[in-house]
């Protein structure tokens, strides 16, 4: 039997979060809490791809910081937009 490794775990988590986000968006009106939850999960998804698929964890720290900053900045705007 094939080993369920780190990449498989992260892929499952990413797919699970995508389905959860869709459920939240479909089931509930976009309350501030839902928007914050979605923004946080987007940050997590971005960090997983940056660190484990792009393999920036342990690579160039400035590129990693820049990529992670991007994935904090724009999801944060989701939270800001919830207060429009």
């Amino acid at each position: 039997m094939k080993k369920f490794g780190k990449l498989e775990y992260y892929l499952s988590a990413l797919v699970g979060i995508t389905l959860l986000n869709t459920f939240l968006g479909e089931r509930f009106a976009s309350t501030t809490l839902v928007s914050i939850l979605i923004a946080l999960t987007v940050i997590y998804k971005g960090f997983v791809v940056i660190d484990h698929f792009m393999e920036l964890k342990g690579a160039n720290r400035n590129l990693r910081m820049l990529m992670r900053l991007y994935f904090v900045l724009f999801p944060s705007l989701i939270i800001v937009s919830a207060f429009y």
Partner: protein, 205 residues
């Protein structure tokens, strides 16, 4: 005359960003110049989205309900899977397992093709519902963002085919795979942009 490898000699980034001081650069410097340019381009799209949403909150609250969410979810899963296949291809070339590397690259390019098919179907479905770029501000932003992303997936899929061709010619090994890695990080960047686009256009009301 002193020669410098391309990955450290372009002089575009400050010295503190060099591989010696800040750590290994996956792929090569030119691909990162491209990636940072693309991030800026998509950053402008995201800024346009938030500005438009500020001025037209009701249109942006209704917009996602007009879209086919199932197709958006399918494309998200397809792109996440493609990123996984690309990461697996990289792990196999590091083991000099070209056969498995090629297999995962074919899976990644298949995901790219599937994404393009689903997105084309979605554009068609939208037009059947009577939606176009000029329907309202939400759809202008939607087409602006998604068609641009569509083009990126299209040319990056062609690049995967090129990399498969090069792999078959023996261009990559566990020792030298920077070209393959450059494509891998570019592909992951495209996936990252979709990770942001999906909730903005399909989920948030």
């Amino acid at each position: 005359m002193k020669s410098h490898p391309i990955s450290t000699s372009l002089g575009i980034f400050p010295k503190s960003w060099s591989e010696d001081k800040a750590g290994r650069i996956p792929g090569n410097i030119p691909i990162w110049v491209g990636i940072l340019s693309e991030l800026t381009e998509f950053g402008i799209f995201f800024a346009a989205y938030f500005i438009a949403k500020f001025y037209y909150p009701e249109i942006f609250a209704q917009g996602p309900q007009s879209l086919n969410t199932a197709l958006g979810v399918i494309n998200t899963i397809v792109l996440l899977s493609s990123s996984y296949f690309m990461a697996k291809a990289m792990s196999h070339i590091r083991l000099d397992n070209r056969k498995k590397c090629e297999r995962y690259l074919w899976l990644a390019v298949s995901c790219g093709a599937l994404y393009l098919l689903v997105k084309t179907w979605e554009f068609h479905w939208n037009s059947l519902q009577g939606y176009s770029t000029s329907t309202n501000e939400f759809f202008t932003v939607y087409y602006y963002m998604t068609f641009n992303h569509f083009l990126h997936v299209g040319w990056a899929s062609c690049a995967i085919l090129w990399v498969i061709f090069r792999l078959r010619k023996g261009a990559y090994s566990s020792e030298e795979n920077s070209g393959l890695e450059a494509l891998a990080v570019y592909w992951h960047m495209i996936d990252l942009m979709w990770i942001l686009i999906f909730p903005l256009l399909y989920v948030l009301r």
